[in-house]
Amino acid sequence: GGGDDASAAGGTSGLKVAYSSPVASQPGQQIVTNGLNAGAKELGWEVNVIDANLSPDQQVSNVQTMIQQQAAAIGLWALDSGAMEGTYAQAKSANIPVIGVNSEGANVSSTVWWGVNRCDDDQSPYRQAAKQIAETRPGGKVIVLGGPPVPSIQANVKCFSDAAKAAGLTILAQIDNTKDTSANAASLTADTFTKYPDVDAVWSYNDSSAIGASTSATQAGRKISDGTGEGIIIQGSNGDPDAIEAVKQGRLSGTWDPDSYATGMAVIKAMDDAKKGVTGKNYVVTAKYWSQANIAEYKDTATLGYTLATIPVTER
């Protein structure tokens, strides 16, 4: 399909670029990798993905390996963006552009952002989430399910919580699923549902926690709302395949999909731009909310038919 742009880029064909994945075994990160590969294929590039497996220290040494292997460009989803400045500086002095994913820094060439992580206007996803809940359940009671103490997660939690209060919702409790597993989310929410049996909605920072909450709600004899009807509203985030299934089965009210596939492609696009000398840009990948109302339209990444020119990304 979209080979035209690639041939226009001409000279860049055959580049070897690298991407440092925070944890390659997670489903969402795998989709990012698929997107990277698709984008690279379009340009005739090769992309080497190295897994930091949740260790920032490992990530630093992975990037150093990339610098040694003289990658043409480095994409990097920093596990801890406050702790990568030195590494960025080393890449810069080796003249290798660095594309951050949801992470920025003084020496980062450009950054690809997830739309879900924005909180600057009314259209920002989690502000919309709060509005949606308030519309269905005016003055409703909400539980906020946070995650490990990571700045980006904390920012998202704050974004939703502030918007929820502004929309007249009552936040009964904020509980943090620091272990980041469904099982732990299930225990935490089971305890919380016992304490607050009259909860209207749960907003969760990711899908696996939302599924945990859904499990304990069901076990407590609660119905899961389809987003408009009765029952408890449970919103997840990430658009994991598993969560899409759950939405289809009526076990989740909905999930905020950051579009990981487009994210991967956007990284390649940003690299391509940087190679052409265009840096300092922010690429924002548009998020989608999948609920029981629109889940029938959900398409698997393989059949999306994105090209580098058509990915749902806005540049700022």
Binding site: P27, I175, T181, S182, A183, D191, K195, S208, Q219, D242
Partner: protein, 353 residues
């Protein structure tokens, strides 16, 4: 430090030895206190915790909350019962959480491929047994240290679980053959969750096996003095193999409960699960060098950790401070046991000379 292996020192006590016959009315509490052996501190800590939480959180002692505690700790309990056998025998199975991921994936995949409920459950148990056999054979027949073997298989099993579904969670909710396990893990009879009944049966059976079978005695002997066990006719290699097989089966059972609860099989492993399981066994009074302890203590350990978690959630302690409360309560509870031993908390112990 090498001798300082039980939670409390000196008096390894009658925790696992046969009841010594003295009885009499009254003084029941004092009796339990005395008999609690190595887990006194945790027992005392648990009692204080329960009293504190019942007062500060009215919801704590409701039946709903209690069943929550049971449900959320059954996976840890089952793994911890398996780990108790291994630790009493003087070993340690670091691969247990990873093995549970593999057996859970096996169950999920079998269901996904249209297998019947029994086949799927049987398959998971069989794989659990196989994983236990792998550990056990490498340890008892190839003679590699149990720490190295289970450290290696921890990594291999984790990887295998990821490979099995390419890292994806297998959603089994809509599969018809999943229903029986779903109903068992989430159902109840006369208000009592099946899982609670299962837990009780499991613990009682495990306790009886350890106390009243030749196999159980062999496990203690092996952990107490391997050479003495060997010279007195215990089949040391087979007993070693057996405890790892038990741990493998426990991993399979735990994973069935887990998948039943979460309605999906995930290859991801909770990085704190292993530590929680081992902690439960050790604070329950089983010596990490083996030869002493029992499942009774392990139940206390699991309950103790579970009640702390539940209490923290109910009291909405900030997630930053949870660790502090958790750690301090644990240390203080065990320190109570130490204090008891040193006579700081004398309770009807008979006077000294």
């Amino acid at each position: 430090m090498s001798q300082d292996t039980t939670i409390r020192r000196d008096d390894a006590g009658p925790a696992s030895s046969p009841p010594s016959g003295r009885s009499g009315p009254g003084a029941l509490l004092a009796g339990v206190w005395r008999a609690s052996g190595n887990s006194t501190g945790v027992l005392a800590g648990l009692i204080l915790l329960v009293i504190f939480l019942s007062i500060s959180q009215p919801i704590f002692l409701t039946w709903g909350n209690i069943t929550n505690i049971v449900a959320s700790n059954s996976v840890v309990l089952v793994l911890a019962v398996g780990a108790t056998f291994v630790i009493i025998a003087g070993g340690l199975d670091l691969s247990t959480a990873s093995a549970a991921a593999v057996t859970g994936m096996t169950y999920g995949l079998l269901l996904q491929h249209g297998q019947g409920a029994l086949v799927a459950v049987g398959g998971a148990l069989l794989v659990g047994l196989l994983l236990g056999v792998i550990n056990g054979v490498l340890i008892s027949y190839v003679k590699i240290s149990f720490l190295v073997v289970t450290l290696g298989t921890l990594s291999v099993f984790e990887s295998a679980a990821l490979v099995m579904s390419q890292g994806k969670t297998i959603n089994v909710f809509a599969i018809e053959n999943f229903k029986p396990i779903y109903n068992i893990t989430n159902g109840e009879v006369a208000g009592i969750p099946y899982v609670l009944i299962f837990d009780i049966v499991l613990v009682v059976v495990a306790a009886l096996v350890l106390r009243y079978t030749t196999f159980g005695r062999g496990v203690y002997a092996l952990g107490s003095n391997r050479e003495a066990a060997r010279l007195n006719g215990i089949n040391v290699d087979r007993t070693t193999l057996s405890v790892f097989v038990i741990a493998g089966l426990a991993a399979a059972v735990a994973s069935l409960i887990q998948v039943g609860r979460l309605t999906g099989a995930s290859p991801g492993i909770d990085s704190t699960l292993l530590l929680t399981v081992v902690a439960a066994v050790l604070i329950g009074g089983t010596a990490y060098t083996g030869g002493a302890g029992g499942v009774g203590g392990t139940v206390l350990g699991v309950l103790f950790l579970g009640v702390i978690q539940n209490g923290l959630t109910l009291s909405s302690v900030s997630s930053f401070w949870r660790g502090t409360v958790n750690g301090v309560v644990l240390i203080v509870a065990v320190a109570l046991g130490v204090a008891r031993d040193r006579g700081w908390l004398r309770l009807n112990r008979g006077k000294k000379a």
